[in-house]
């Protein structure tokens, strides 16, 4: 068995960890990440912090404007701003 088949770099592990936060890591990627997590302290620390960030984002239920909503707001405001300048 080739080493690269199961072992991934720290950067790749971080990338998979990021994708996992959005449910976009494949099953095979999750297996490779799991193996890396079992022995790499740095990846484990990154993963814990990443999971915590996802957790607080979900808990806070923050919201923001969609692009079309912001564009509408911007247009309205710029029309008014032009009158003041």
């Amino acid at each position: 068995m080739k080493k690269s088949f199961l072992f991934i770099s720290c950067e790749e592990a971080h990338h998979i960890c990021d994708k996992r936060q959005y449910g976009e890591a494949t099953g095979w990627e999750r297996v490779k990440l799991g193996i890396r997590l079992s022995w790499c302290r740095i990846t484990r620390a990154y993963s814990n912090r990443n999971n915590k960030l996802t957790e607080v984002m979900q808990k806070a239920e923050v919201d923001c404007l969609k692009n079309d909503e912001r564009d509408k707001l911007k247009k309205q405001f710029e029309e008014e701003l032009a009158k003041h300048q």
């Binding site: 990443n50 239920e61 919201d63 911007k74 701003l81």
Partner: protein, 184 residues
């Protein structure tokens, strides 16, 4: 020389999402929240001469927004008395007598303290988001807050998927650092 100055040209870019989040957590309606934010910016523009420069631009806009939200609630409360109160009772005869229990507050529902903590958490997140480079904040919001899929963001911003993940990685790392200092 005042400590802070107003630059309305940057208001939408810098504060629209923050003010919108502040409003929607308090009024719970997207359209009303957008209207209140829009009214806040317009009121800010009209009262720029009153700005003393003691508070930051964002704090000043929030103080205007708070008044707008209070006015909104005053307005709907004054209309409430005129409205007819209707209550739908359960028509299921098997459940007769159970209706009162079904309508008591859910003990597992969020308490006022939870809500307050979440509002503060939201503010802390927005403080940290405000420190990110514009592009990182934009991609992060689209991906994490609005929940857009990778392809949609890539098409809209004309970036590749690998570009997107690099941006997301940098944004998440910076945010986690910032939240660690301010919240975790």
């Amino acid at each position: 020389m005042p400590k802070h100055q107003l630059d309305p040209n940057n208001w939408i870019k810098l504060y629209s999402d923050y003010l919108f989040n502040y409003t929607i957590t308090r009024v719970n309606d997207r359209v009303i929240a957008q209207d209140l934010v829009s009214e806040t910016f317009l009121a800010g523009l009209k009262s720029m001469a009153n700005f003393k420069g003691e508070a930051s631009e964002r704090t000043w806009l929030i103080s205007i927004l708070k008044r707008k939200i209070i006015d909104y609630y005053r307005k709907i409360n004054s209309n409430k008395g005129k409205a007819e109160v209707r209550m739908n009772y359960n028509s299921d005869t098997d459940a007769e007598g159970d209706w009162l229990e079904e309508r008591v507050a859910d003990p597992f529902d969020k308490t006022a303290e939870d809500k307050l903590e979440n509002l503060e958490l939201g503010d802390a997140i927005y403080d940290c988001l405000g420190k990110l480079p514009e592009k990182q904040a934009e991609v992060f919001k689209m991906k994490t807050i609005l929940g857009y899929d990778t392809e949609t963001i890539c098409n809209e911003l004309e970036i590749t998927a690998s570009n997107l993940w690099v941006i997301i990685h940098r944004a998440r790392t910076a945010l986690a650092d910032c939240m660690q200092k301010n919240w975790f």
